[in-house]
Symmetry: none
Subunit: 282 residues, 2 copies
């Protein structure tokens, strides 16, 4: 059971695509060119003006207007809105999606709530898929694989993700240490950090002051730093490698799906790198 807003905009896009394909043979020469292009590169339709699209496709701007009108829109702009919505839904902004859901107010209905959280989780994972690059992962994994010990900074909110990263790194024989500030202060735990180490900070807004301090301390010591955050800001952007992830939140509860998935992927890549290095050396 998906939500209405999302469904409708994405359905509109799918319906349009189908209709373009269906009407294709009945279109004039220029309109066929536009149809080809719109099916092949819909995001270009969403992101450019009629004039520049016309130039790229090789037709006049007015041809695009005629194209839109052929499919029942009032003009190019109205059709373009469908393409834009699709792009927004499929890449990042589930924010509106969640927002619209929250407004339906049926928080009481457990089944509906379940759906909302699951949809939010899926949206987070889809966003992760689009927003992280293999190069970033390689860089971060290498920092971890090369480290004497990987320390993971955990504040309350992100403690769960930190335990997961630590657990998986350990399983893969990458030395990992959780700096949880438990049974004492982070300050005390930081003495184990050396310049040969890598410190991973997982920090969600609002950041715990302790995490920020510990992160800066790690940099002072000369350790490598990796940051996973939902809002890239000083001092975290000075990290050797950083990931910005946007987790969907429902009623103030932030999903953790993207964060733990990233943690798993990083751990595995670091683990395989480490294993490769060891076999080479022996």
């Amino acid at each position: 059971m998906q939500m209405k807003y999302d469904d409708s905009s994405d359905e509109a896009f799918e319906a349009l695509r189908e209709q373009i394909a269906e009407d294709y043979e009945g279109l004039s020469k220029r309109l066929k060119l536009i149809a080809d292009f719109s099916l092949q590169d819909p995001s270009a339709i969403a992101l450019n003006t009629a004039a520049s699209l016309g130039e790229e496709i090789g037709v006049a701007p007015s041809a695009l207007v005629r194209f839109a009108k052929h499919f029942g829109f009032s003009g190019f702009s109205e059709m373009q809105a469908i393409f834009r919505d699709h792009l927004q839904v499929s890449s990042t902004s589930y924010k509106e999606r969640i927002h619209a859901l929250a407004e339906s107010g049926a928080t009481r209905d457990t089944g509906e709530m379940t759906d909302r959280f699951i949809e939010a989780g899926i949206a987070s994972l889809r966003d992760l898929q689009h927003s992280i690059s293999p190069e970033h992962i390689e860089t971060a994994a290498k920092l971890m694989a090369d480290a004497r010990i990987v320390h993971i900074l955990a504040q309350k909110r992100t403690f769960t993700a930190a335990t997961y990263l630590a657990y998986n790194l350990s399983r893969l024989d990458v030395p990992a240490n959780l700096l949880d500030g438990l049974g004492g202060t982070l300050e005390q735990q930081m003495v184990t950090v050396s310049p040969e180490d890598t410190v991973v900070a997982i920090s969600f807004n609002p950041s715990a002051g302790e995490t920020v301090e510990a992160f800066e301390r790690a940099r002072d010591i000369g350790a490598r730093t990796i940051v996973i955050t939902d809002l890239a800001r000083a001092p975290f952007i000075h990290a050797d490698s950083w990931f910005q992830i946007s987790e969907a939140s429902v009623d103030g509860f932030r999903s953790l799906n993207a964060t733990i998935s990233l943690a798993l992927i990083l751990a595995i890549r670091a683990g395989t790198m480490c294993a490769e290095m060891n076999t080479e050396n022996s």
Copy 2:
């Protein structure tokens, strides 16, 4: 290796992001609002007009122009172009990733691996959606809401999910206690369990013997029991409420997405029940 053109436009985007994060503290109040938004939802910047963005963020359109100028652009439009390019680039590079055409060895593997894990995570969540019933959640949530304290049994593999459940219950004023077996034995920690309590066991195959013992001990004491497991069998099927979840696994690494999502949903439902009970009683 991507095309040069794509690289450069994406670099421009990355550079801008970094500069926004770096200059953040020096920005005025409105400009900070815009900075937050632009970092969190860049595709919205790409796809909307200055006026509509202004409304969503809560600033005047001219503030967006000022924001752009602060970062050296001639105006909003010029900055928006960076965001648009990024969106176009990232969607095409994603396409390339799927088709795995022109990427070098390790990077291609990493991209592929990332996709597999994310798809596995989504599959797990979809499965969760179909396999759990609102009635089960209601039952389990009620057991937790009625409890004096909710104890959560954590073995190594599921420690992460247990911390997440404990954290969210606490946030919602449901008394929660993590039985982690740290700094001693589970046996010792179990003395705090009373017949008015509820014990949640999260157990993946192969179950740690300690968890099984602790679970049976909890039943002997007379506490209510809830089990989250990937393989329902004795003694867990004797629990007052149990959930069977199947997490997708890639290369032997099991996703945790369904488990933590279920944990979140249960915590929230228990939290709202608890809150309702308290307002009714007072």
